[in-house]
């Protein structure tokens, strides 16, 4: 009665190209800038379903801002945005070098993804809380957090606000709306939802943002966050930064080569959309739209930022062993800084010369911060946090057994 079945076999997703192959993004469908519609704030997930399969893009090839998502930002804001991204890139470059020079143990850069965190930050208000991963340093830079403080943390020096306790880039800056970064992937996602629920319980007007990488959407915390956000209509923006790669595995490993990360929201009735993560204007517009939704009591939004991790995963890996050479330059959404720069030039508000000059200024600024930070020490020389600090703040008050251990340790 039953037909005969063939032996089964396991499907294991593999990226289109690996070292030695020619990079090929021809199957990556990129809608034209300006094409995506802008739904009303109270649109249902169902009514804007298509937007999880499209990409909101504002800047076209010519550098013009087009379509319904354009037009939010004044020239000064655009210039500030360009500056933030340039600072972040310069900061990354210097810190990468500092790590190579042995001044700290480790570093992770945001290269190629600068627009995502820098533009998003400008759509938030003071008091909102971000629950970031290690690749959203732009939230701090664009939010005006002192670079020197970031470096103090990276150097684990005597002025490190977290007292040398965590690895580099695991910042914490409550006053700047930046939650303490965890080394455990995903955990912050549901915490962000909890924070947002608390804001709602307290009758506050603040919102939370959650951040996660494409690879990390596989974690359990991602699911819990979607469940809780949808059940309690939490005022939270759920961001997935799809930079195409986890460490050595491509985004198809987490995505199952089907649907999109944004589409994960649909099963929960969460309005979801994708945005060109290398388009400062698009990210900002989408972020503002989602933040307004949350603030208006309309609940969560899921945003997939489509971008590309142009650098290595961290200073601990060499991407050339698992990625095709030239894949980064073949990436079809371009470079976020170049694109915003071109836009400003197109608008007649910027020039190559001013850009070069800005680069110098930015680098000087970063260098000055670095100098100031290094006066507080680096991981390997100069002033450092106290060894007593190991025992402090494990609890609010040190319990007897820790007092004893600290004495035993001789501090």
């Amino acid at each position: 009665m039953h037909k005969a079945f063939h032996p089964l076999s396991l499907h294991v997703p593999e990226p289109g190209c690996r070292p030695g192959d020619e990079p090929d993004f021809s199957e990556f469908v990129i809608p034209r800038a300006g094409e995506a519609r802008k739904p009303a704030h109270d649109a249902t997930a169902q009514s804007m379903r298509d937007m999880a399969f499209s990409i909101v893009r504002v800047l076209n090839k010519e550098g013009e801002a087009v379509g319904p998502w354009a037009g939010d930002l004044a020239i000064d804001q655009l210039k500030a945005g360009l500056r933030h991204m340039m600072v972040l890139r310069a900061f990354d470059a210097r810190m990468l070098m500092a790590q190579r020079q042995g001044k700290t143990s480790f570093y992770m850069q945001s290269l190629g993804e600068e627009a995502v965190s820098c533009a998003f930050r400008m759509a938030l208000k003071d008091g909102d809380m971000n629950f970031p991963t290690y690749r959203q340093g732009g939230l701090l830079i664009a939010g005006g957090y002192p670079m020197e403080m970031m470096m103090n943390q990276i150097y684990s020096n005597a002025a490190d606000p977290i007292k040398g306790r965590q690895m580099p880039i695991m910042y914490s800056a409550k006053d700047h709306g930046f939650f303490s970064i965890s080394g455990n992937l995903g955990t912050q996602y549901i915490q962000a939802v909890g924070w947002a629920m608390a804001s709602a319980i307290a009758g506050d007007t603040k919102i939370a943002t959650a951040w996660i990488g494409d690879g990390s959407t596989s974690t359990s915390d991602f699911h819990a966050a979607l469940v809780f956000a949808s059940t309690y209509h939490a005022p939270v923006v759920l961001n997935v930064v799809n930079n195409q790669w986890a460490i050595s595995t491509f985004q198809g490993m987490a995505r199952g080569e089907a649907a999109t990360f944004a589409a994960r929201g649909h099963g929960f009735g969460i309005p979801s959309l994708r945005v060109d993560g290398n388009d400062y204007l698009a990210v900002h517009a989408v972020a503002k739209w989602a933040a307004d939704r949350a603030r208006s009591g309309l609940g969560p939004t899921l945003i997939e930022h489509v971008t590309y991790r142009a650098g290595g995963h961290s200073t601990s890996d060499d991407p050339s062993s698992y990625r095709a050479k030239g894949e980064s330059s073949a990436w079809p959404l371009g470079d976020p800084i170049e694109r915003l720069k071109t836009h400003l030039i197109t608008l007649g508000e910027w020039s190559t010369e001013r850009h070069t000059q800005a680069e110098t200024e930015v680098m000087d600024e970063v260098r000055a911060a670095q100098k100031a930070a290094e006066a507080n020490g680096t991981l390997t020389s100069g002033k450092s946090p106290s060894s007593r600090d190991i025992f402090e703040e494990v609890y609010a008050e040190m319990p007897p057994h820790l007092i004893k251990q600290r004495q035993e340790a001789g501090y």
Partner: protein, 336 residues
Amino acid sequence: MRMTMIEAIRNAHDLAMGADDKIVVFGEDVGFFGGVFRCTAGLQEKYGKNRCFDAPISELGIVGAAIGMASYGLKPVVEIQFADYVYPAYDQIVSEAARLRHRSGGDFTCPLVIRMPAGGGIFGGQTHSQSPEALFTHVAGLKTVIPSNPRDAKGLLLAAIEDPDPVIFLEPKRLYNGPFDGHHDQPIVPWKKHELGEVNEEYYTTPLGKAEIVRVGMDVTILTYGTMVHVAQTAASEAGIDAEIIDLRTLVPLDTDTIEASVKKTGRCVIVHEATKTCGFGAELSALVQSSCFFHLEAPVTRVTGWDTPYPHAQEWDYFPGPARVAQNLKKVMEV
């Protein structure tokens, strides 16, 4: 007023929520239904759905969301339906709640109480009987509390709620209705007829980190907590041994002074707990006692515990360290 342990816990919630509107209570079935053991009954009605509500079946989500709420400035008191189901939340507890204050240099803190019914004695088999305290006491940054009677349950829970750090609050479910002493074939005395069921209706706290000597004795010190406090008392009486019994109440931070003074006095020490033996909290107690009381010990420190097996259903009373097993070990220790 006489209360069961359930009523005492409910009363503690009520007083805390009345005093501080930062306190929110949630968990599976804790809202409308008031919890499968009824520990939160009436709270939703009194304080509204914003302060006491049901949660989806995700222990990870419950604890993870609570951490976020705590970092916002609320004080969540969450219920895990059975301690056996806390493991999906284990990562959030050990990697996040326990280390948030330390890792952020005090920038963020995590005042949070995680309540859960624990322990055996109700024919719950391997998934409604576990005593996982040692999995928390090993983790720096957590406090771990286990009351053994209604009076302490209330005071300790209020102290846990006041505490600025994450507290694991294990409730010996076999004690919810009365002081079970391990004689499963005899009816239990309900708390309403027991003096430790006498609970002051006012707000009071019982400090964390302070043990209580529940029976004074000269011959041997019994270190125990939770249900086993009652089992140990019965065992000592039945064995006719003049045991000093210490109800630890808080495992971390531990009241080492009380322990040390007692063992130095008696020269003998028996540790009793329900959890599996290997790497149970009894191991830590034994290590501490032999180190601090080495020259006073007349016999090896002995542990009476659950066996190193899953908790069985049908053979519950062969697994559970009841009064006979405790008494037998007390006698053995006295013979050395």
